[in-house]
């Protein structure tokens, strides 16, 4: 739910579009090829992005997709918010519903979920498509004052 395969396909496709920004439309097939995305699935994905103006499409010969605005002003955060728009949870990326523990009155976990949600978007919102195109460490400036604990998944 947080980051599904579809989410990742979407981001990859958008980055691919960003790469070619300003050089006319690029075909679904080409994006699918470049990013190893099942072409039919990508068709569905892109046509869902269009109505809200993320991308502009052109049909027919020499048609294809292109970004509607500069990759500099498109953030991962905005995209992910968009992708989880009609997904019932109260914290869009987490899977948590506010009324989950209604029975107990006001849920003791709520402040925590809220903080996590904010922390997540703190990162997503600072990541633009453009920044993703730049090789090397990008977008790290903001969190540099935080001490990261090196705790990994145990397995």
């Amino acid at each position: 739910m947080l980051v599904t395969q579809k989410t990742q396909y979407t981001l990859r496709a958008m980055v691919e579009l960003a790469k070619h920004h300003g050089r006319g439309p690029i075909k679904i097939a080409a994006i699918a090829e470049a990013q190893s995305i099942p072409i039919r699935f990508l068709e569905v994905i892109l046509s869902q992005l269009k109505p809200s103006g993320w991308v502009v499409a052109k049909r027919g010969h020499r048609g294809g997709y292109q970004l509607s605005r500069s990759p500099r002003y498109i953030t991962v955060g905005d995209l992910i918010r968009f992708l989880s728009r009609d997904q019932g949870s109260d914290f869009c990326t987490l899977n948590v519903r506010r009324h989950a523990c209604d029975a107990i009155g006001d849920c003791a976990f709520l402040p925590m979920w809220k903080k996590v949600q904010e922390a997540i978007f703190q990162v997503f919102d600072m990541t633009t498509l453009e920044s993703l195109l730049e090789k090397g460490d990008h977008g790290g400036q903001v969190m540099d004052n935080v001490i990261y604990l090196d705790r990994r998944c145990s397995r």
Copy 2:
């Protein structure tokens, strides 16, 4: 994947156990009742926590569960890491696999996923069962220097 219903049941059950810490075992049925968790499901959940020493069980008359150590030293982070231990993603809470975009060489998104993962556990790791018992705003001290953008899920 990130936070499933089972995850939330687990946390609620642990908080319930924390409430009664030091006062002998408490029955599954009582926890289930207090936290509105399906009892059979909770049985499964708790018996999965036992082998790794999160809880101690006692069978038979006057049996039940209790925490194996103080709620002060049990963090949500540790619990969530435990719950997602054998779930193939490289960033345990996100659903992202490192080799997802192998084709493209080194994935442009990796640094971002890593930062998000760290940001999430920054919060989870500072939240102890004990802190969840305290009413009011708890655990907020660390993130206080961060400027939160008020961006919500659009819907």
